[in-house]
Amino acid sequence: MSNSNEPAEGLTGWVSPPTSCTKLADQLKSAVRATVGLTLVTGCIFPLLLFAIARPLFPRQTKGSLLMRDGDVVGSRLIGQAFTRPEYFQGRPSAAGSGYDGTASGGTSLGPNNPKLIDGSADFAGIQQLAEEYRRQNALPPTASIPIDAVTRSGSGLDPHISPENAALQVPRVARARGLNEETVSALVTEHTEGPQLGFLGKARVSVLELNLALDRLKPAAGPVKH
């Protein structure tokens, strides 16, 4: 085997690293500069570049997809609201704060076989209780099947959508409370149902807030609505 060059103690044929590179002080200096410099590149220049490109392209989305009515903001297309009155479609139960609290997003973190999720506790409504309430509100027989999204809380507590099945079960109640016929309300639900994206991504869903806004446009809710 060729023992052509340095170093002597048996590192046959290896190229040794340049000595200047091994100086710790040099690397320490580089580390300090890189930390500050690259933080500026990724924490300042990147966000500024993103703002400069994305804001003119998508002005509505960058501002949070807010929904307007008579010049006032009434919510966001992407953030659910709490609805309790019978003339509005109701979203999923929520674990965010006292319900749809935008400053406290979060789910229950209860696993599907956790007894608390199903049976509830003193200050937590379980699926059984939520299902009973849902059936009572919508005048369903006690054995009626209910879509899972009607009795479970979303991961954020802010999900704006429900399933079309859930909306369909609420149609008779909303129609009765507003004095509309069920076909009109059903047609409105269909109009506000989005299919899976690109035909196969995700599931069909109904945007509750947008549907309720459309209902109000069609026929304002009975009784006073404070603003």
Partner: protein, 372 residues
């Protein structure tokens, strides 16, 4: 329907692995790429500003020292930013910052984000200023991810190079990773997220009266700046408490799919990069095949577990209460994608180690070449 999503996901990852892997190999080996005319001037400028001599090769020890020094530097900087974030300008208003950023929480967050552990042990919407999220956390999501990619390059070179005591230059590797790979991909990905509805602003929180007249506070912020690099760097700490389950962080099935791709694409492509740099292309494909097989096993097992859990729930509901319909999508909107990413990384590292241990032919990592 969800099987279709799953199969399409695997098909895209495998389809992109080869072109992206070859591109990564060019970035790693300083070969020409289509972005050179744009990025080489920026690269030289950064080398000059940071005092880096990219041609200087480092031994494994020096490379590791630089990696550690950089990590320590980033941790200290992030610690200071988070510690004094209350004094930063920008929203949200003080009234919404209800959780104090205590020294122990800051230390935990700083160490965690600079090591891609990214344990988000706080609720962003009631804890952090926008500028702390962007200047502190977004930057670390980039830098920790890029440092990981640099070490990946060095690891591959260590196996690929024969008769060499050096692994490359850490500073050049991290700068090239950022400029050629992570920043361009993040720019494209973040713009796609904004298109789908992820907010990007520095506005104050929006106070609205709901349709029923109750007040609701809607958080705002530069969410899109964080959410894509969170996945691409396989980091994990989100802008809001609910992280990937928040409709502002992950508004549509398309953003969910983009997030999943962002987690998987670089680890999968690095297998092909490995094959090219070590001049064993078939080894790269073997590693990728094993990764995909393990991933599909995991995905199937997860689907199966869902079925088991939901059968239980379904059964219980049926006996107790007349039945609640249970369905859950395979790729659903929640934090599971983080575990998928972690599983990919763990399996990738595991297979890599197993494979190299079986064939200990690399002096740069495994010591001297046996005497002949």
């Amino acid at each position: 329907m969800h099987w279709l999503e799953y199969i399409l996901f695997v098909a895209i990852v495998v389809g992109l692995a080869s072109p992206v892997g070859r591109y990564l190999a060019n970035v790693c080996e300083r070969q020409p790429t289509f972005l050179d005319s744009l990025l080489v001037p920026v690269e030289s400028l950064l080398y000059r500003l940071l005092g880096v001599r990219p041609e200087e090769e480092m031994s494994a020890g020096v490379y590791m020292t630089c990696f550690l020094l950089f990590g320590v530097g980033c941790t200290i900087l992030l610690f200071l930013i988070l510690m004094f974030q209350r004094w930063l300008p920008s929203g949200p208003a003080d009234a919404y910052l209800t959780t104090p950023m205590t020294a122990d929480l800051v230390a935990n967050t700083a160490v965690s984000f600079t090591t891609t552990t990214t344990w988000q042990a706080y609720a962003g919407e009631n804890t952090l200023r926008y500028l702390a999220q962007v200047f502190g956390l977004v930057a670390q999501n980039f830098l920790a991810g890029a440092a990981g990619l640099a070490v990946g390059f060095a690891f591959i070179r260590g196996i690929g190079r024969e008769r060499s005591a050096t692994l490359g230059n850490f500073w050049a590797d991290i700068i090239r990773s950022l400029l050629w790979v992570i920043i361009p991909l993040s720019l494209i990905g973040s713009i796609l997220l904004v298109w789908q509805g992820v907010p990007l602003n520095m506005e104050h929180y929006t106070l609205v009266p709901t349709l029923e007249g109750r007040p609701q506070i809607i958080p705002q912020g530069p969410v899109a700046a964080l959410e894509f690099i969170k996945n691409l760097g396989t980091n994990g700490g989100g802008f809001f408490n609910a992280n990937g389950a928040h409709p502002y962080a992950n508004p549509t099935p398309v953003t969910n799919f983009i997030g999943l791709l962002a987690i998987a694409i670089l680890p999968a492509s690095l297998m092909i990069t490995f094959g090219r740099i070590t001049h064993r292309p078939r080894a790269g494909w073997t590693l990728l095949t094993v990764m995909v097989a393990l991933f599909m096993l995991g995905g199937t097992a997860r689907l199966h577990r869902n079925i088991v859990c939901l059968c239980f729930l379904h059964g219980k509901q049926r006996t107790d209460h007349g039945g609640v319909e249970c369905q859950q999508p395979l790729l659903q909107r929640n934090n599971h994608h983080r575990h998928v990413g972690r599983a990919i990384r763990v399996s990738c590292v595991g297979i890599g180690i197993g494979w190299t241990v079986r064939r200990p032919t690399s002096p740069a990592i495994f010591g001297r070449e046996p005497a002949e």
